[in-house]
Symmetry: C2
Subunit: 252 residues, 2 copies
């Protein structure tokens, strides 16, 4: 893991860009971890790590993800995001580009898009998981960062796959507003860690009943649904704190 | 309003029984309000008032209500509960007793109970509202207690009726686990204040879809649904704090 740039933010958070082989990532650490040399970081309690992924391969620099990451880091977490294979600024195959163009066309035309999403998101999730696990290995080797690990993603589909594959993740927050492939809907019952599930009640592109069915399917004994009125991007700001309070209960 | 007994609790909360005409009630006030004479109370900022009613006429001394009231008072609220007409220890008509007996019989036999509930809860809500409004008038005349006023009730049906009738209530928390008569389901769209709506996902006696439909029907622009797995009495303890944080956002 190579750090390529760093920026000190007002709230004591250190924001660093890194590369790990072909994977570009960003790491946000709180004032206590990593910012003042290995010796000091080793003395402080390690900051619990939170993996944060944006829906369906959107870039890690997406402003809402960055705002959430900074807020979470200021609350005492090390937060990491990457552009996994096929996501964000990573190269896309010609076939991927074609599928995305077809998706945009179908959405504009108001045609059903489930099958396009299925053919596009399913493989994207499968390809993203190894990159996230490689990143997790490298992050846990850094001084000042420790377990337990949380996942707090806009991207529920990736979260489900990752949580089922990765026993080091102890708690997860998912946003319901995104296409979840059939494979992940089916393996939802294998998710048994504590879950925080955020739903926008009037999300234009994501059927409410499908989100409620997914919440119902999770195997977790502790799972909390928070639903608020409004469209896809209308999540009220207090849910940011609620999400962190959920992580506090399970990671601190 | 006549205070008939008082008890100082460990967390600085003062618990007082009162009577107001035929209405018996309990008032919990935080350390800063009411406990040290009118002069001191008048100097401190008045504590916002929270009305707390238990489902379907259960007594104000019901232990879960008392625990919730004490917790809320320790967070800086004046909290009041009463046995309204026909509720708790108040006299019941022979017809009421007969309906309750019929309800118990039908529940044991696994028969449908909606029509019995309708004939029993509907009038109970109507009769309870005037007693709650009389109590609200008297409480707001006390030193150290002020607006804005919140409702935080197990009893959603009473809450809906009261919130629609009573413009002084600025925010309300409802528990979805209780029969809501048709009249209140219909007037839910007239509820426009901020709402906190708590649902037990596997509540034995309360159909989930009916609760989701009720949440959908509320006219409030800010309404938050919190749903957790488990049966009627299984609400996780962290929801107590979440409910208070909701009140903090709107009453403090």
């Amino acid at each position: 893991m190579q750090f390529t740039s760093e920026q000190h933010l007002d709230d004591g958070v250190l924001e660093r860009e890194f590369t790990l082989g072909e994977i570009p990532g960003t790491l946000w650490t709180p004032g206590s971890a990593g910012s003042s040399g290995a010796a000091q970081a080793a003395q402080a309690a390690p900051a619990p790590l939170v993996l944060m992924a944006h829906n369906n391969g959107l870039p890690k620099a997406e402003p809402r993800l960055v705002a959430r990451a900074r807020y979470t880091a200021a609350r005492g977490y090390a937060v990491a995001s990457i552009d996994a294979a096929g996501c964000g600024d990573r190269p896309r195959s010609a076939a991927d580009e074609q599928t995305r163009a077809e998706l945009r066309r179908a959405m504009r035309a108001g045609e059903p898009v489930d099958e396009i999403f299925e053919s596009f998101i399913g493989p994207l999730v499968e390809k993203a998981v190894p990159d996230w696990r490689t990143t997790l290995d490298a992050l846990l080797d850094l001084p000042g960062i420790g377990g337990p690990v949380g996942y707090s993603g806009g991207w529920a589909a990736l979260g489900i796959r990752l949580v089922v594959a990765e026993p080091r993740i102890a708690a997860a927050g998912f946003f319901a507003g995104g296409y979840v492939p059939r494979a992940q809907r089916e393996e939802a019952r294998r998710v048994t860690i504590p879950l925080f599930f955020l739903l926008q009640w009037d999300d234009e592109g994501n059927p409410r009943q499908r989100a409620l069915d997914l919440f119902d399917a999770f195997g977790s004994k502790e799972k909390t649904l928070h639903a608020n009125p409004g469209g896809h991007t209308g999540t009220p700001s207090f849910e940011l704190e609620d999400g962190c309070r959920f992580l506090d209960r399970h990671l601190k």
